[in-house]
């Protein structure tokens, strides 16, 4: 008997969509959460249940007036505030210059951290130098905190002879062992439970090391996210597990990543203290990460953090967000811009002013331009010289096996 062709009903199930689409005017509700709303539990004794309000609400320090307030105020020294601000500026300027370089064909692809600069900068500043950083592709800023030479970063992005990963990876997939910055991987989320393993090894060896890792809210749909939370909840290693909720995974809005609660709340069911933090609030990010490090280093286990932010730019140089969301949506984001907010705070604190800001921008831009001029003098993806083709055949294994050696000889390199 021939099968009857079914006729679909019009709304058989829920297909979530984004709140605003191209042509719409984005208008987000203002946030009810204010600095000082939430207490700062004891990091060592804290039980996951104590953080329910933190997971449903939002940890903030910087008020709309630029004043730091509440129990989470990390009371950073003026030097640290200015360092953080300049590092965020450096990351933003670096990204802008690299994007221009991408348009010239000197590198194939780029990913900016635009709008999310505070995350990698503040959180890495809150760690110790020996701590392991296990990034996703929007945390390259951690390298700037630890002093990686920008020339070396650009050499990687443009795949020239000086690229420390020898032209084997796409741009922005940095590796930097000296800075304990572990190789970025394209398959999203794979680093999450690997970070748990790195932390397990630190604990096993008795080393005072904490591991931090990030993934996006879109990636939290992957099994690796849940492996990470679950293994961390069982073994309680010194690890900080971050979900960067920047609202979008390419064009996929966060409401397709979960139909449930806040992302932070999911950690509570794993028994892990969980917080939602204003991701454009440098001071709040610093404070929550300090808290998590203190907890981890004391042997009390993991912390789960949802970093609430907005991806102000495209997903990557290959993406055009005007196809799926309003072009100016980021300007309506209630969290504002992380760089502007910390600058306003510094100015309000009397340690910064417009002139210093302009001077810093100019100085950093000159440094970035000098770095990319130097890097491109060693070659770029469009024009070479590239790493030797022999690098395809090395470091596949600890020693080159016979069959790979034969293939290398066949290519004649």
């Amino acid at each position: 008997m021939p099968e009857e062709t079914p006729v679909a009903t019009s709304e058989p199930y829920c297909i979530p969509t984004a709140p605003y689409r191209p042509g719409d005017e984005a208008s987000f509700e203002s946030w009810p959460w204010r600095p000082g709303d939430l207490n700062r539990p004891d990091p060592v004794d804290c039980d996951a249940a104590e953080t329910v309000h933190h997971a449903r609400g939002m940890v903030r320090v910087l008020g709309d007036d630029g004043v730091a307030a509440g129990a989470w105020d990390p009371k950073l020294s003026p030097e640290n505030v200015i360092t953080g601000l300049e590092l965020m500026l450096r990351l933003r300027i670096f990204d802008d210059r690299m994007m221009k370089l991408q348009r010239t064909g000197k590198l194939s692809f780029y990913i900016r951290s635009f709008g999310e600069e505070a995350i990698a900068i503040a959180q890495t500043m809150a760690l110790q130098p020996q701590d392991w950083v296990f990034p996703s592709y929007r945390q390259p800023g951690a390298q700037l905190v630890r002093g990686r030479d920008m020339v070396s970063m650009i050499n990687h992005c443009i795949g020239n002879e000086m690229d420390n990963v020898k032209g084997r990876q796409m741009p922005v997939h940095y590796t930097w062992r000296e800075g304990r910055f572990i190789s970025i991987s394209s398959p999203v989320g794979t680093q999450f439970n690997q970070a748990v393993g790195v932390a397990m090894a630190s604990a096993y060896k008795g080393d005072d090391e904490v591991t931090i890792t990030w993934l996006g809210e879109g990636t939290s749909a992957q099994g690796d996210y849940h492996y990470g939370l679950n293994f961390a909840s069982v073994y309680k290693p010194p690890v900080i597990l971050n979900v960067v909720n920047n609202q979008y995974a390419i064009s996929t809005h966060r409401n397709l990543a979960t139909g449930g609660s806040t992302f932070a709340e999911r950690g509570i069911s794993y028994g892990i203290p969980s917080f939602r933090v204003d991701g454009n609030d440098f001071l709040a990010l610093f404070a929550i990460t300090r808290w998590a490090r203190e907890r981890a280093a004391a042997g009390a286990g993991a912390t789960h953090i949802e970093i609430y932010t907005y991806r102000s730019g495209a997903h990557s140089s290959s993406d055009d967000p005007s196809r799926y969301r309003p072009v100016e949506e980021h300007l309506a984001w209630p969290g504002g811009d992380p760089v502007e907010r910390l600058a306003a705070h510094a100015i309000a604190s009397g340690i910064w002013d417009e002139r210093k800001h302009a001077e810093a921008v100019q100085r950093i831009d000159e440094e970035v331009v000098a770095a990319y001029k130097e890097a491109t003098s060693y070659g770029d993806l469009a024009n070479g010289p590239w790493p030797s083709a022999s690098t395809m055949f090395t470091e596949v294994y600890s020693e080159v096996p016979w069959h790979i050696q034969e293939q290398r000889e066949e290519l004649g390199v």
Partner: protein, 333 residues
Amino acid sequence: MNIIEALKQSLDDLLSRDERVIVFGEDVGYFGGVFRVTDGLQEEHGAHRVFDTPLAEGGIVSMAIGMGLNGLRPVVEIQFADYIFPAYDQIVNEMAKFRHRSGGEFWTPVTIRSPAGGGIRGGHHHSQSPESQFTHTPGLKVVYCSTPNNAKGLLTSSIECDDPVIFFEPKRCYRGPFYGDPHDVPTWAGHPDAEVPEGTYRIPLGQARTVLEGDECTVIAWGAMVHVSQTGIEQSGVSCHLIDLQTLMPWDRDALVTSVRRTGRCVIVHEAPKTSGYGAEMSASIQERCFWHLEAPVLRVTGWDTPFPHSTEWDYLPSPARIASAIRKTQEA
């Protein structure tokens, strides 16, 4: 000694000699593993070094990768090779690629042990032999033991290797060799390869071994098929050089080529499906190197290109009769 005891000896030796070695997986801790390979190791070496995990193969492997990145040598058990696939992304894209993609700055020397192959009435999901899914992945070494002797020697070399290794164990042969008759269940007692050296014992990776000398046909096998091939060779009445490949990646091409140039004939035996099975690689490489020495086409005796069955597994697995028939066929030319 049987294969289980031999594997345990290797683990015990490594745990005793090297503090970086850490052993974990589903049921491997307190209980000692569903096949008993880790029995007693937790009691001897501590729960921090031999422990149980949640039931998540992708989680087991990803955590092991992280530990390996930070200086340890994890040895993990995937309870059946059929259950390795939740970890496939971690194995193929992560574990295998770390050294290369990081320009040599990071590497992770994980060993994944996994019982594989049929012959235990395990149906589709306790019987597969997925070696070719890993030999096709640059960055992995792939080992397939077959006897107590090489189980111990190869596992020690795998754990000490600075590269990630997938280590398959023929579960039908854990307690005795399988000669192809399902009703014949011998133990390892009296088998020459049940003799296992005390203390640290290594067999280098990448080396095949000769099981039987012969000069009329070369038979290549690994895992349980080494023993089934022995019966097939006996039934054929042909003088065969039986080679146990032992390490599939990197493999010992010289041993095979030397033998086939001498015998002029070759039969490859494996449990896994024929199409894109590892036998295809052997066959192609042998004709590249031995074409002018070949007296007959290189033949493969393998599992069928179908899901592994439950009730009819003896018709699925290469039988001594099928192997004997193939060997005889090579003599017709």
